[in-house]
């Protein structure tokens, strides 16, 4: 078994936390797991990604080009940036809520999120895109969009562990005072995505 997940986003979006939850669930389900996380300078609003490799058929923690089975894009531009890691036929979930870079250094292209979302739609037939930040806000805070996207990943049924494994991990790992809002976002995302399963967005 081999299942490679790449989470792409911007520093501050909770990419590392989401990656940790998936890795914990994988270990709980009895799999071998190896992750590579971005910790350090890029966490200050830079491009960040986490690689989560599940199963015995991998060795290093970095997913090679064309091997990710699932790409969780927390932000449109960062999703597109990491597309080459996705294998042919791999699944993508993308949060349509764009985070524009803080400044536009000379030579940096204009950020047009709609154009990038159209590019994703044109190139990735099974794409699921949704404003998970809005969903998170409705649950209580925009900050739990990361957990909402884990819910959506679980909802489309691609994760290689039983449904309640991830839920148990979240219950254990998220501190009491934040649990309700995280679980609300998670469950709302599971519900939302089950309604659209199989439908081209």
């Amino acid at each position: 078994m081999k299942f490679d997940i790449l989470i792409a986003g911007v520093g501050g979006q909770g990419v590392v936390l989401a990656s940790r939850m998936l890795a914990l669930a994988a270990v709980k389900a009895g799999f071998h797991v190896s992750t590579a996380e971005t910790i350090g300078m890029s966490q200050r609003e830079g491009s960040v990604s986490s690689h989560i490799r599940i199963g015995d058929k991998t060795s290093g923690s970095l997913i090679p080009i064309g091997q990710a089975d699932l790409l969780l894009g927390f932000e449109p531009a960062e999703t597109v940036r990491n597309l080459p890691y996705l294998r042919k036929g791999g699944r993508i979930l993308v949060n349509t809520h764009a985070i524009p870079p803080a400044s536009r250094p000379p030579g940096s292209p204009e950020y047009d999120p709609m154009a990038l979302l159209s590019f994703l739609n044109a190139h990735c037939p099974d794409l699921i895109c949704f404003n998970f930040t809005k969903l998170a806000e409705e649950a209580g805070t925009y900050k739990v969009a990361n957990i909402a996207m884990l819910g959506a990943a679980l909802g489309i049924g691609v994760l290689p562990f039983p449904e309640d494994t991830l839920q148990t991990v979240l219950d254990t790992e998220i501190p009491e005072k934040h649990r309700a809002v995280n679980m609300a976002a998670f469950e709302n995302a599971v519900k939302w995505v089950s309604g659209v399963r199989g439908i081209r967005i």
Partner: protein, 627 residues
């Protein structure tokens, strides 16, 4: 009983150290090494381990040396550039050796992701005559930490556990002795007076032959260890260490029959006997290693000594890159290049991506930047304004010297406020040198609070002693922010959270003899920018060393009850706030008729944008509920 637990490499190292009975742990935060000490700190009280964040790596090492001389088991943690700071005591320590045990965790950062250099600690170990272990995974980091303590105790020599970012910051399922590390009954003989603890030319002359003999003994021992292993029996040899071994294993999957892989876990002293036995039956050797051609040089030396006819393909003849981080795809390409050179027809293949890199549309550059609401932005912007006015009034230019920390990000567009940056503490002394050669320009150096304590103080002393006409802006956000908010000597808290004496930075510089010292409390000021600009101008106009301590709370630590919004009636869409500040909370949407600036959720209410808006269109907003 063996448990399986998801651990980050650094956590695995911490668990192993606790399990072998480490008694004293010291370090200075540095990505990617920081979490090792933080993990031990969480268990320190329960397990009876003395743990401290020291003021710098040299101090951390020397503190651990004192403990190890007394027979204790000590661990010191740092990133690779921290080893440069600690190298003075370490170089001497190798001659004296230790009692008890002493292990250094030194984390290298190929890439680099969060470092000034791409130095290679394997080669540093060679220079120091100190053994270096090089794990590839969190599991190996756990095992080699235990081995490091064992070797250090047995051979009475410090041992370096060298990791890279992809080991320290990789999480994996690690087989450990217990779910939570249990306290270990550990004794410490105490310091016994002996001339062996006092380095002196005569002692060094006596100890040097011992040190060299230890290298030979260690090389012998290493050749028999299972962490140096050979797999496969193909005719093309590959030697690798650390994560490069993993990339290689994945690259040659399905073609194992062609290759014979020698994975080196104890890189220095080089396990020559094991390497020689690996070489039998091999006529071509590929060396896969990040950073320096360290293994390549060891093998070339061995092949030269033994006159074995083996072709070597590595960095020195252009087959592998010297710099940057490796991955599976790079290793595939480079092995294919070697195969082509050897006249082989076989090629290793890449997976096919859904969309190739070449097909991607242009993407915005997203460089790291100061957080929304960061006090450093206010100070940088204030000095920019002050320098502009001095240029206008006095025709003098200003050179801004930066330092290492979050505020290195003052270099980013549009602030562009860092003209030089070299290493921890260098900004102040470099400003002094720039003053000697550019006396007509104003010199401003920026340094953070933790970096000030790390290595800024001697530079302040020098500026006073030699009367350098420089302005020092100390950015005191009350934490070591970049590495994840560790305490430092100015906070009044230790690594374990117990209270300690908080050292006042302004008092330190005053006692160093600085005559101009001002303190500006950014958070308490209604119009922080104006006060900062005034303080900056006054300091820059002062003849001789002048210091302004800017105090504020780190935006990453506070939950602000304030937030700003744009008044759509007043906003003209001029974009001045965005173009001037580069705050990640501000943006101007594209493609709309009358584009108004927009403030995102990450706003933490510093209000500097409101202070500079030419139309007064940025107003405070009540917050109903923010988590």
């Amino acid at each position: 009983m063996i448990n399986k637990k998801l651990l980050m490499g650094n956590e695995a190292i911490a668990f192993a150290a606790i399990e072998v009975g480490v008694q004293i742990v010291t370090g200075y935060p540095g990505t990617p090494s920081t979490e090792a000490l933080e993990t031990i700190a969480r268990h320190a009280d329960r397990c009876g381990i003395y743990t401290e964040w020291s003021s710098n790596e040299k101090v951390a090492l020397e503190t651990a040396v004192g403990a190890a001389y007394s027979g204790a088991k000590a661990l010191v943690t740092m990133k690779q550039v921290g080893l440069n700071v600690a190298s003075d005591p370490l170089m001497s320590l190798s001659y004296i050796g230790v009692k008890g045990a002493m292990v250094l965790l030194v984390a290298d950062d190929p890439g680099p992701h969060s470092s000034q250099t791409e130095q290679d600690t394997r080669a540093f170990g060679h220079l120091l005559n100190i053994p270096v272990l090089d794990p590839a995974t969190p599991q190996e980091a756990y095992e080699l930490t235990k081995l490091a303590f064992e070797l250090s105790h047995e051979f009475e020599i410090p041992v370096i556990l060298r990791t890279t970012t992809r080991v320290s910051h990789s999480c994996g399922d690690v087989k450990i002795a217990a779910e939570e590390p249990a306290p270990v009954e550990a004794s410490c003989e105490g310091f016994v007076k002996d001339r062996r603890w006092t380095i002196f030319p005569k002692l060094t002359a006596e100890r040097h032959p011992w040190l060299e003999s230890v290298q030979v003994k260690l090389s012998e021992r290493f050749s028999g260890l299972s962490c140096n292993s050979v797999s496969g029996d193909g005719r093309i040899g590959i030697i690798a260490s650390g994560v490069s071994t993993l990339y290689t294993q994945e690259a040659i999957r399905d073609f194992e029959g062609l290759f014979k892989l020698f994975k080196v876990g104890t890189v220095y002293p080089f396990p020559e006997k094991a390497a020689l036995s690996f070489l039998s039956g091999i006529d071509s050797l590929i060396v896969v290693e990040e950073l320096d051609p360290y293994l390549e040089e060891q093998m070339l030396q061995l092949l030269g000594k033994t006159r074995l006819p083996v072709d070597v393909y590595g960095k020195k003849n252009g087959f592998f890159p010297f710099s940057g981080e490796y991955n599976v795809d790079i290793v595939i390409d480079r092995i294919n290049k070697v195969l082509s050179e050897m006249g082989e027809t076989l090629r290793l293949s890449h997976a096919l991506p859904a969309v190739s890199k070449e097909e991607l549309p242009p993407l915005p550059i997203r460089a790291p930047t100061l957080c929304a609401g960061c006090m450093h932005r206010t100070v940088f912007y204030a000095f920019k304004q002050a320098a502009k006015q001095l240029k206008k009034d006095q025709k003098s230019d200003t050179i801004f010297s930066g330092d290492i920390g979050c505020y290195t990000l003052g270099n980013a567009h549009p602030l562009n406020m860092v003209d030089t940056c070299l290493c921890m503490g260098a900004g102040i002394s470099m400003a002094g040198g720039l003053f000697r050669t550019n006396p007509e320009a104003k010199q401003v150096a920026f340094i953070g609070d933790s970096t000030f304590f790390h290595s800024g103080i001697p530079a302040v002393v020098n500026a006073v002693y030699n009367n350098a006409d420089i302005t020092l802006a100390i950015l005191d956000n009350r934490t070591t922010a970049m590495t994840g908010h560790q305490p430092h000597p100015g906070i009044g808290l230790t690594a374990l959270g117990t209270s300690s004496k908080a050292i006042d930075i302004a008092e330190v510089v005053q006692s160093c003899g600085v005559e101009f010292v001002r303190a500006v409390d950014i958070d308490s000021l209604e119009n922080s920018l104006e006060s900062c600009v005034e303080a900056a101008k006054e300091a820059m106009n002062f003849k001789g060393p002048a210091v302004v301590v800017f105090k504020g709370k780190c935006a990453g630590l506070i939950k602000s009850d304030k937030r700003y919004k744009i008044d759509p009636e007043s906003c003209t869409g001029c974009g001045f706030c965005i173009k001037q500040l580069g705050c990640p909370a501000l943006f101007l949407p594209v493609g709309e008729n009358k584009a108004l600036a927009f403030i995102q959720d990450s706003c933490s209410g510093c209000g500097i944008c409101a202070q500079i808006c030419p139309s007064g269109a940025i107003l405070t907003q009540d917050i109903k509920h923010r988590v």
